[in-house]
């Protein structure tokens, strides 16, 4: 029984890690513009993130080393520095988006402009990382985040033509009025939203911090697969509701209120309440994760003391990075920059950093000196290599596509 509970909690945490403002915005936006024509990208992304998270968790459990620690060891200080600067910037941009996301959830609930909520969200985040027992928080947000399943239930409530939906998923076409480059641009946006880099390094840090070892490799695998698959179902649910409600009416997603509109159509006020709770929990959880991840990237590169369980005075450099990042991100969010655009750019730029982060994971997971019996099997390697090629192609194509489509317009 206790085992089941532990697994359930791990899965919840994984779902929470998967779902963030990037998913909430891009799934709805893409559903409204492209219908179900990019569902296949979600499937592709879930397999990739599961494979690399599993490898990363296994490596962390066996060697007690985190991603950026290994990145530096394998790629040397120059490439690794380039990598952490890139990852840190993307992560900080994601933090800006997540802060705005929680504030937007408050705006939906209160009709008070989100800008007024941004400082409050930042203060809340500070209090949690400074004082709270993190594990309890993480689980609390995981449980509350389940409210987002209202998106999946809404698909049934809206009574769709299932045959047509199945056809649209299996025969993806670029909708009239959209160019192929734009379609590919949003395919990369989707890939970035669902293979968010911070998920992987947050996860590997968690494994080391909780002191999980070889014995936990099986449990880590279960958490991962279930968590990401359920997260993927949720993502497809959001795309489907947007396809059913927004696309026929020609509604574009420019605000979080459009993301939740289909749920309100299906369930009215109750739906709205549930979805706001779900968004708050999932996105606030992501605020904490991106915030800690910013500290992890830097501390792991330089070998500083770090950890969400450490008292701030015992890890002063790590805590300083976190505080400065939080202040900077909150300040940036307050410049009235469009939070939806920030979200799109953050997930898109994330694609650029994936190859350099994933390559060392794949290399170490194959190193028998480190991994012993837990070295990569054939399946993990086959999937690993295919995805490394895929994310490399995506990273190379990302900037030309961004310019060619003028940011997806």
């Amino acid at each position: 029984m206790k085992q089941i509970l532990t697994i359930a909690l791990g899965v919840l945490t994984a779902i929470g890690g998967f779902m963030d403002i990037g998913d909430l915005v891009t799934d709805a936006l893409i559903g409204a513009r492209f219908g179900l024509a990019l569902v296949w990208v979600t499937v592709v992304a879930v397999i990739g993130i599961t494979a690399y998270s599993e490898m990363c968790g296994r490596v962390a459990a066996v060697t007690q080393r985190t991603v950026f620690d290994l990145v530096r060891e394998r790629l040397g200080p120059r490439v690794a520095l380039f990598n952490i600067v890139g990852s840190y910037m993307v992560n900080a941009l994601t933090l800006v988006a997540e802060l705005c996301g929680v504030a937007l959830a408050f705006e939906l609930a209160t009709n008070v402009n989100y800008m007024l909520w941004v400082p409050l969200v930042a203060v809340l985040a500070f209090l949690v990382v400074w004082r709270m027992p993190f594990e309890i928080m993480e689980r609390l947000y995981g449980v509350l985040g389940l409210a987002l399943f209202v998106f999946v239930v809404a698909v049934w409530q809206l009574g769709p033509d299932w045959g047509q939906m199945a056809h649209d998923v299996t025969h993806p076409t670029v909708p009239p009025g959209e160019g192929t480059p734009t379609y590919l641009f949003y395919a990369l946006v989707m890939l970035g939203a669902q293979m968010t880099p911070y998920e992987v390094f947050f996860f590997s840090s968690g494994v080391v911090e909780h002191g999980w070892d070889r014995d936990k490799v099986g449990q880590i695998r279960v958490n991962n697969v279930l968590g990401y698959v359920i997260g993927g179902v949720l993502a497809i649910g959001i795309q489907a509701t947007a396809y059913l409600v927004l696309q026929p009416r020609g509604i574009q997603v420019a605000h979080l209120s459009q993301t939740v509109l289909p749920v309100v159509t299906a369930f009215g006020q109750v739906g709205l309440a549930l979805v706001i709770v779900g968004i708050f929990a999932a996105v606030f959880g992501s605020v904490l994760e991106t915030l800690l991840a910013s500290g992890y990237t830097v501390a792991h590169h330089f070998g500083w003391r770090w950890g969400k369980f450490e008292r701030p005075v015992n890890a002063a450099r790590f805590s300083t990075v976190i505080l400065v990042t939080l202040l900077g991100a909150a300040g940036f969010a307050l410049t009235t920059i469009d939070p939806i655009k920030i979200t799109i750019y953050a997930v898109y730029l994330g694609v650029l950093t994936l190859p350099l982060t994933w390559l060392p994971i794949l290399v170490i997971a194959n190193d028998r000196r480190y991994m012993g019996a837990e070295v990569n099997g054939r399946l993990a390697n086959a999937v690993g290599v295919v995805y490394l090629v895929l994310v490399t192609v995506a990273a190379v194509a990302a900037l030309p596509l961004l310019i060619a489509t003028k940011g997806g317009l």
Partner: protein, 127 residues
């Protein structure tokens, strides 16, 4: 591990931990002597911003070294004598405690005393 240590693969950029498992820093560089009557000998692990900047090289590396030199009062890197190394593995374990090593935690303590420690709720500084 084999008997032969490969400086680039087995030492550089590895995590250094003290005898209690506390994180000390990275092996940012190595100090070798070149005696006339024999092969070069490894005498110390170098860590910290000065060593990191030197290793990084280029304009950025030079800038890091001079900034660290100005703030820390010396451009000399922090040395950890190789005699203190107890075990070389995925991380490098020392036989000393981090508090016994000179200069290693200077930045950390400065931030603790002047910034982090002054914010309420940061926890009491260990005496």
């Amino acid at each position: 591990m084999t008997d032969v240590l490969h400086a680039g693969l087995d030492l550089l950029d590895r995590q250094i931990v003290d005898r209690d498992g506390e994180l000390v820093g990275k092996v940012d560089d190595l100090e070798l002597t070149d005696p006339e009557d024999g092969p070069p000998r490894l005498v110390a692990l170098l860590t910290g911003a000065q060593a990191y900047g030197t290793r990084l090289g280029g304009r950025l590396g030079g800038w890091i070294v001079s900034a660290a030199g100005r703030l820390g009062g010396t451009k000399q890197p922090v040395r950890i004598p190789f005699e203190l190394v107890e075990k070389v593995g995925p991380s490098i374990r020392l036989s000393a405690a981090v508090s016994e090593l000179e200069r290693v935690e200077r930045v950390d303590h400065w931030l603790r005393d002047n910034f982090i420690g002054r914010i309420p709720g940061a926890g009491n500084a260990p005496e």
